[in-house]
């Protein structure tokens, strides 16, 4: 196949204008992706009737959104990280956090990119300065943003993670797909995964429904 020179030249000329510092850095792009999953959880909560407010640790109502660059303890007061509070009619309040550690069944820390947990457990974590128990996590999502290569190790780590979490619902969300990852995660129904999760996509809709179902179940059983 021959590729038109003009087309390649025009693509080359537009690549520069389409790039900015946040896309040129994989970490920044990955963090924006985690924030996108956080937003998807918030929108799902609103659909389920929640009123949403934001707090900054140690500061009360949020002035802005401040998130972690790497996983940390929910109870840490070193930085005023932001979290969402979800108030549902006739159900206990929930909190949504980014990049926090929770305690697994085997009493080791696990990192959750997005964690939705009961506010009671989050308050216990802050006052006792202990990691929240994964059994009090009602939904957790692992966010993976990659350009072309979704390593199979990511799926293996996810399988290890969910085997030690007592969270009510966990999922693995990626912006691309991979035949090997798909094959491995499809072997077992407990391995919930969504690929092609990007704005305005079927993948994003599926992830939204995942959170909606988690909220719906929580309200029904509270």
């Amino acid at each position: 196949l021959s590729v038109a020179d003009d087309l390649i030249n025009e693509i080359k000329s537009v690549v520069g204008a389409s790039t900015d510092a946040s896309l040129a850095d994989h970490l920044q792009a990955s963090k924006a992706y985690e924030a996108f999953l956080f937003v998807t959880a918030i929108r799902a909560a609103e659909k389920e009737g929640a009123s949403v407010s934001y707090q900054q640790i140690g500061q009360g109502p949020a002035k802005q959104f401040v998130f972690r660059t790497s996983p940390g303890h929910l109870y840490s007061t070193i930085k005023p990280y932001t979290y969402a509070v979800l108030d549902f009619p006739s159900a206990p309040s929930l909190e949504v956090h980014l990049d926090v550690r929770v305690a697994g069944k085997s009493s080791v820390f696990h990192e959750c990119d997005v964690a939705v947990l009961t506010q009671q457990e989050a308050q216990r974590s802050r006052s006792e300065r202990v990691a929240p128990r994964s059994s009090k996590v009602i939904a957790a999502a692992e966010a993976k943003f990659y350009a072309a290569n979704l390593d199979l190790d990511l799926a293996r780590s996810y399988i290890g993670l969910i085997s030690d979490l007592s969270a009510k619902a966990c999922c693995f969300a990626t912006n691309i797909t991979s035949a090997s990852v798909t094959r491995l995660l499809s072997q077992n129904q407990s391995r919930v995964w969504y690929d092609f999760v990007v704005p305005n996509s079927v993948g994003a809709q599926r992830l939204g429904v995942f959170f909606e179902n988690a909220f719906h179940r929580f309200r029904a059983t509270s």
């Binding site: 087309l7 537009v14 959104f65 990659y146 704005p199």
Partner: protein, 162 residues
């Protein structure tokens, strides 16, 4: 130009524009090769005793005398170009759409009085580890238009390569 040259030129452009991490992932994927199922036929020699136990194939392909096993084959030039083109779309088109979505979210939260400032920043607990960075929320029209144009340019190429 041929696909090899198109690949090399786009690869170089990506590196020039600080997108080395994207090129690295593309190269990693290409190095790994494409996973395929290969039909492995049994040899004519009849193994005996224990040897047969070890080598016996657990599942035979219907109507054949072998079974499908996994292997990798190198990506063709056309496939390599398709991987690079897909990665460009993933990062520069979908990555920007993701930013736009965050812009809408933060603006809405600010308008609703849920936060005071339209700002989304990422910080380490220890500032010495890594400087803080913010999601660009300035509605970069030039970047958005360039990204839309890029999406239009990539589409016909993706159609030809897949």
């Amino acid at each position: 130009m041929d696909e090899r040259r198109a690949f090399d030129e786009l690869r170089q452009t990506m590196i020039q524009h600080r997108l080395r991490w994207v090129v690295s992932e593309v190269e990693e994927e290409i190095r790994a090769g494409r996973t395929v199922e290969k039909l492995v036929r049994r040899g004519k020699r009849t193994p005996t005793g224990e040897e047969f136990e070890i080598r016996e194939l657990p599942r035979e392909m219907p109507g054949t005398s072998g079974k499908a096993e996994l292997t990798t084959v190198p990506y063709t030039d056309s496939e390599q170009l398709a991987i690079l083109i897909r990665a460009i779309r993933t990062v520069l088109v979908e990555g920007r759409a993701l930013q736009q979505d965050l812009v809408i979210f933060v603006e809405r939260a600010t308008e609703a009085g849920q936060v005071m400032e339209s700002r989304m920043v990422f910080e380490e607990e220890d500032d010495a580890l890594r400087p803080a960075f913010a999601v660009p929320l300035n509605r970069d029209e030039g970047g958005r238009l360039a990204s839309s144009r890029l999406a239009e340019l990539l589409s016909p190429l993706e159609g030809e390569l897949t």
